[in-house]
Symmetry: C2
Subunit: 245 residues, 2 copies
Amino acid sequence: MNVDAYFVPAGVEPADVAERTAVVIDVIRATSTIVTALAHGARAVYPTVSTEDALKLASSLGRDDTLLCGERKGLKVDGFDLGNSPAEYTEETVGDKRLVMSTTNGTRAFAAAAGAERVVAASFLNLGAVADALEGAEELVVICAGKEDRFSLDDAVCAGHLLRELEERGGEPLGTDDAATAALRLAAELTPDEAFLRSTRAGLALVEIGLESDLALCARRDVFAHAPEMEDRVIRLSSGGSESE
Amino acid sequence: MNVDAYFVPAGVEPADVAERTAVVIDVIRATSTIVTALAHGARAVYPTVSTEDALKLASSLGRDDTLLCGERKGLKVDGFDLGNSPAEYTEETVGDKRLVMSTTNGTRAFAAAAGAERVVAASFLNLGAVADALEGAEELVVICAGKEDRFSLDDAVCAGHLLRELEERGGEPLGTDDAATAALRLAAELTPDEAFLRSTRAGLALVEIGLESDLALCARRDVFAHAPEMEDRVIRLSSGGSESE
């Protein structure tokens, strides 16, 4: 398996993802939240880059069973139904709902991945299931959301742990570009627990706005046994998945 | 000392460097070449982003003592005097010359750093001298050139080795952002020898165009005892420096 990694979505060109399998990672917090929401019964997540697009899409989908979700500067957007904390996405709140979601970094990573053959949403919460879903993929592109176009250590370390798992399963070294090599090296050194997440820039930003409790939720490994996939810009639970939490 | 690092210049805003000391790193090969050129008697290096700007600047400086230098796709630009191999920059060739230089990645990193209080050019060739020059700096920004807006492992590992040296000298941990933390971790694992440089994407690209011999030149540590600085977009040997090769 050959792997290219991008630490921010800004440099990803359509040709970089075409005919390849893309994995999108935004540990703090978009993919952690999306994985949680779908595991808790949401029908689909529609990532949109701007809040304006989110509003338009939600009204065209019909507001009865659609929730407006997302954040700016970490906090729920005014007038939206939900923010970007995994804790908000309970079965009671999101069960059978469509979620239109706009976040600062994560939804841009999905936009950058949109031209790939497959697009899989990954977080620590579903790392093993993502590794299952990637079995047989030959050309992989890992797109980290980063934070405001800058490198995020939490995403890079998550990418590295995913690649380690793929390498162990495949029984041979992956073909890696510089960024994927770096991610593997970082994962060999860094354990993704709550204290680690708190030390990152994204983690510190959450602590500052009083959302520290999200970090423990995002640090859990393999609590959901599904790898959501995006098709035609809609993210859904892949048919093979099941919830293990 | 607080350190922010950028793995590509694309995301660097003027406010990110203002009133701070910036270090520019392009191991393969711009800063390795610039450091070599100045150590070998070049009077000054004028980094320019486009080859058109290089041509204009060279003719306004006067072509008698000015050399046009730089590469595209690794190879010397048609009509230019020199490419981007450190080996070309001998005392005989560059002594007392002004060098107008345009490279694919390195000169963009200098452009991104231009608004900083000080801008220092670093490579493995002069890492110790750069650490000397940074003594007393409180707010440091490390700008890696990367490769075509993508992460370059050689630059990141060089940044990490510089930060390790600063940390050892200072006797206390640096305050690091996510990227600087990652650079430190990578440097703890990766030794910057010729084989390592050959394994990077930039190194492989040099091998492909027959310039593999540059890698050994770029991998040497501390062969020059000066830290060139850029002022008003001109890079010169800092007054305190002396040549140790």
